[in-house]
């Protein structure tokens, strides 16, 4: 079971209480996780990555295992600890006010 942590505003938008838990078949990558999350919560399409290019939105970051994985290629396998559900995959809204 893979755990995905969403920013509070996206949890509110998708009416999610707590973390998202997903099962994946095949390699555990950013793309696979985001595809699964967006498949379950279609209202999140376009909020984390662009609808068309699927590029991460500039003020969104991906963290796991105390690393910033935002600039990893979307098909790069994520750390084993994420794949095994020991550590969450964290989708973060950048620390910025306004």
């Amino acid at each position: 079971m893979i755990r995905v942590v969403l920013p509070a505003h996206l949890r509110t938008l998708a009416r999610i209480d707590g973390d998202v838990e997903i099962e994946l078949e095949g390699p555990v990558t950013q793309r696979a996780i985001l595809d699964a999350v967006e498949g379950r919560y279609p209202m999140l399409r376009g909020t984390i990555r662009d609808h068309v290019t699927l590029r991460r939105r500039p003020f969104v970051r991906f963290f796991a295992c105390a690393q910033d994985l935002s600039h990893e290629a979307p098909d790069t396998p994520l750390p084993d600890a994420v794949a095994q559900g020991v550590e969450p995959f964290m989708i973060i809204g950048a620390m910025a006010g306004g």
């Binding site: 505003h9 209202m43 399409r45 376009g46 909020t47 984390i48 609808h51 939105r57 003020f59």
Partner: protein
């Protein structure tokens, strides 16, 4: 008993203000979508319980929300705004070419005949339409593909399509306005468009009377007289009596003819309201006095409406989508400020009072007159 529902979009959420027809006691609901920029909310005239809202965020982009119960509950609907074909480029602030990029929805305009059809004016300037209650959006790309498109340039707030006026007498006619390209009209349901800026004069562009390039801030019409348009341009109040084919200035005796919103009285097509702002760099009322100006002569002769509005040390702005009128027998006027006040007048502007004083900065105000 009849009543009103005022839909307020702010920089940090939406608020819904309701009152009966007396408009004295108000119920305030919100913040809805707390923390998000709510550029605009508007209800369908076909089904007043059908509301559409533009919700956006610098972090998470654009979402459209829809309510089918007058704003009690909301559902996120479609947020995929993809330009038709290869979008091409427009002028950037420095005059170089810049790719067309979707940023946000500035304005939502529900159809006058079908509650499931709604138009969206977006930044970078384009017009989209949904015919399935906001689930999917298609660009009416004839506008953006106008030959002048590559010369369009953003205003200070972005290159936004902020005004959509549907002609009640002609379903094929739509007026739109873009900062800072100008006003356009279609007479074939959005397939082709023509600039309607003849008569506008704008200092600061190479040809002051150019076909496009004018920073139109807002256009208003009375629904029973759709060929008469009133415009608040960057500077100048303008009037057209021929559906935009030609314009003439009606700024008259205003203390400043810079401003953003403009509105027409619900029952008096020659009664027009503006909020003069000192200048394009000093976005606050002249002399620190918040004054709505009313013309009962279709322009040129304006009177200050001050009763109940702050007349000392007031330095707020009123944005282009932040003024609206109801259609009760005694026409109500509403506007919101960047200081978070929403003012209402139930007597056509003679007297004003604040419904709320301390909201986040107000981006938009719309009002529904309820049976």
């Amino acid at each position: 008993m009849s009543g009103v529902r005022v839909l307020v979009g702010t920089r940090k959420g939406a608020f819904i203000l309701t009152a009966d027809g007396k408009r004295e006691q108000w119920d305030v609901s919100g913040p809805h979508f707390a923390g998000w920029e709510m550029y605009h909310l508007k209800g369908s005239s076909v089904d007043p319980n059908r509301l559409y809202a533009s919700q956006s965020s610098g972090w998470f982009g654009q979402t459209i929300q829809r309510s089918d119960d007058g704003g009690k509950t909301w559902e996120p609907v479609g947020n995929e705004f993809v330009y038709d074909g290869v979008p091409g480029t427009h002028q950037w602030y420095d005059g170089t070419q810049h790719p067309w990029e979707f940023a946000r929805v500035w304005h939502l305009e529900p159809s006058l005949t079908d509650a499931d059809t709604v138009y969206a004016g977006v930044e970078d300037a384009a017009l989209f339409r949904s015919t399935d209650a906001g689930k999917t959006w298609q660009e009416l790309s004839g506008l953006r593909r106008h030959p002048s498109g590559p010369s369009w340039q953003p205003g200070a707030g972005g290159m936004c399509l902020h005004t959509i006026l549907l002609d009640p007498s002609n379903p094929d006619r739509i007026f739109i306005a873009i900062s800072a390209a100008g006003a356009f009209r279609t007479d074939d349901g959005g397939q082709t468009w023509k600039p309607i800026n003849h008569g506008l004069r704008s200092q600061g562009i190479p040809d002051e009377e150019a076909e496009v390039g004018h920073c139109v801030h807002r256009i208003a019409m009375h629904p029973e007289r759709p060929n008469v348009l009133f415009m608040q341009k960057h500077w100048d109040i303008m009037r057209s009596d021929d559906a935009g084919d030609s314009w003439h200035e009606v700024s008259g005796n205003l203390p400043s003819d810079f401003g953003f919103p403009i509105a027409v009285h619900a029952h008096e097509p020659e009664t027009v309201y503006v909020v003069p702002i000192k200048s394009d760099s000093e976005h606050f009322p002249p002399e620190g006095k918040l004054r709505v100006y009313r013309s009962r002569t279709g322009g040129n002769e304006w009177e200050a409406l001050t009763h109940g509005l702050p007349q000392t040390d007031c330095y707020v702005n009123v944005l282009r989508d932040a003024m609206a009128v109801d259609s009760l027998d005694s026409c109500g006027i509403y506007f919101g400020t960047t200081g978070g006040q929403v003012y209402a007048s139930a007597d056509g502007g003679d007297t004003w009072s604040a419904i709320v004083r301390d909201l986040p900065s107000v981006l938009s105000v719309e009002v529904q007159t309820l049976p």
